[in-house]
Symmetry: C2
Subunit: 364 residues, 2 copies
């Protein structure tokens, strides 16, 4: 099992470990018991993970209280679900000495992380991410949140996990479309931070898509290193952490405009192409660079063009409402080359005019 | 206006200011606008503060979105109220660049602080405490929380305020019983940390009860210095901050056993006497010490004995469920002399047997 340590000085413990391995789920519980021997345990998962046998594999015959989110997926990522989890913890007579174990994809991690952040002013959460997007992105970094009836992540907290365990074998049961869309965050990491990793992904994409364990371990490790180092440098997203938002400003608008028919990673893929087109307009791109990026995304089978029925005006309106917008227009993350974010006066998010974005959307 | 600075290294800003004055409410808003010029403002208050004219005095003719908690008081300190506040912020199109201004007593501060802690992963909150208990205690220190249908503060966060403004004139409109009960936290501060402050309270209690502004400013300043220094040393309550819990372990049980008929400060007064009796049993008390403490509490007009119908077994059961209990029995904060907490092996909360506590409750 591979181990990394993420250093977060603001945490009382100074940080947390990430452990990556293949087929480790069945032997994880004794380790969790040893690492957190003073804590009662409470598991949060969803019905898909239960059906796939993963909860059973994690717990074996142990009698551990658990909450199963149903239905699985974004529709359950609400404050009501978080309240139901906390009431279940109260009914199990759990107190501050409780470890919440989140077994699931991004949705489970977000909900369980938020519930842990606010239960009796905060209890630790251990993340066991089970999807490509959660293993690459959401399990590391400490962002948690649930939706209100009006908007996404209206409720949330920065709450770093007490640890992250990644078992790449769990990905074998993941739905193909989810699997592929989740890999877009891996491509994003390579684009913003690591050109060698980009080369590796280009060369090994077939093995990735065949879900070969050694390759999946390698990309899990790379993703955690990249995301971890950015989070270490800027845990509360004052500046550098914004680089993780590459492709996301337009991506979020596309995701919302699709009525969430597009998966997050699919929308971000379109957003990455849009960022590439902005870079060309702003003369930040080397010849052929966007073609390489488009090539890898096409091979992943994710969209690289706007859906035909998606109006630019609608997207511009959604971009104005971006939660990072100041004076109703957000800044954008761009790259100077593959592996390096473009900075202006030290800022990782830079000004791009609405006119230029409109031009790019028309070409997309 | 008197200014203190509370240093919290874990905060990105490094801490926050406390400003104390007399009749400053009407001139505060321009100062808030200047200090937080990049933020939209949202006020949370309650119907009592509105009736007393304090919201009007704070805002003048300005058109600032506000949420009025109704009914005022503990019954509204629920997750439902926090959700209603967040939805009101969304309806006002507020984003991450929002400052929540909490104008009210402990309940308003707790709810507004929690809403600010979780709105879009956290926005700053400015506390303008309007009761003796909030000015002495809850506005400083960063504890926020709301109740579930099952228990108190089931939802909460450590969320330090961006600033605290204390206007002692607001206390003039406070109900006499609330006013007196809130002063128990001031007595507690003197007992655990400052014998000169204890002398001052003994000598000036008539002036305090007459709500003389200069004396109220003096005790606001002492309370903030004492609580602030403890919070600075131990913001997340790992050890020293527990000293603030003096009188509270038994006090919380008495409060719950009374069905919350007793005010928090009234129950803590009984808890302080219980702590004094434990100290006598454990031979930690100087002769006459408890009489001085009892004298000041009697002069405040708060109870110093258990209500006649309150059974010891019920209290012992509630103490077992204390949220800080480990293996179903909490530790207790005791003093070695007025102004100094008793420590064992560096610990501010020490072991006291259930037998000894039962003996003391029978004498109370």
């Amino acid at each position: 099992m591979l181990e990394l340590d993420i250093k977060i000085p603001a945490m009382p413990e100074g940080g947390y470990p990430i452990r990556i391995g293949t087929d480790i789920l069945g032997s994880l519980w004794p380790r969790i018991e040893a690492d957190f021997d003073k804590y009662s345990k409470f598991v949060v998962t969803d019905e898909n993970l239960v059906s796939a046998g993963h909860l059973q594999k994690l717990l074996g015959q142990r009698d551990i209280p658990a909450f199963t989110i149903s239905p699985a997926g974004e529709a359950s990522k609400t404050i009501d679900t978080a309240i139901a989890i906390i009431e279940a913890m109260e009914k199990a007579y759990l107190g501050r000495d409780t470890l919440v174990v989140a077994l699931g994809g991004g949705t489970v991690g977000d909900i369980a992380g938020f519930a842990a952040a606010v239960f009796k002013r905060g209890v630790p959460v251990l993340q066991i991410p089970t999807s490509t997007v959660a293993q690459a992105d959401s399990a590391v970094g400490g962002k948690t949140g649930v939706d209100s009836s009006m908007s996404k992540n209206a409720f949330g907290a920065f709450w770093h996990p007490a640890g992250v365990y990644i078992d790449t074998v769990i990905l074998k049961t993941l739905d193909e479309r989810q699997f592929r869309a989740g890999l877009v965050e891996s491509v994003k990491h390579a684009i913003i931070a690591d050109s060698e990793y980009f080369d590796f992904l280009e060369e090994n994409l077939d093995a990735v898509l065949q879900r070969k364990p050694d390759v999946l371990e390698k990309i899990a490790e790379r993703n955690c290193r990249i995301k971890g180092s950015v989070v270490e440098a800027d845990p509360r997203e004052q500046n550098q952490r914004r680089s993780l938002n590459y492709g996301h400003t337009i991506g979020h608008a596309v995701e919302a405009a699709s009525g969430f028919e597009l998966l997050h990673g699919e929308a971000v893929a379109i957003g990455i192409i849009a960022a590439g087109l902005i870079e060309i307009e702003m003369e930040l791109a080397q010849p052929g660079r966007l073609d390489r990026i488009r090539g890898i995304l096409e091979k992943l089978g994710v969209p690289v063009k706007l859906p035909a029925d998606m109006a630019e005006e609608k997207l511009i309106d959604l971009i104005k409402r971006d939660k990072k917008a100041v004076n109703k227009w957000p800044r954008f993350v761009l790259i100077s080359r593959i592996g390096e974010v473009y900075r202006q006066d030290g800022q990782y998010a830079v000004e791009v005019s609405a006119e230029l974005v409109t031009t790019v959307l028309q070409k997309l």
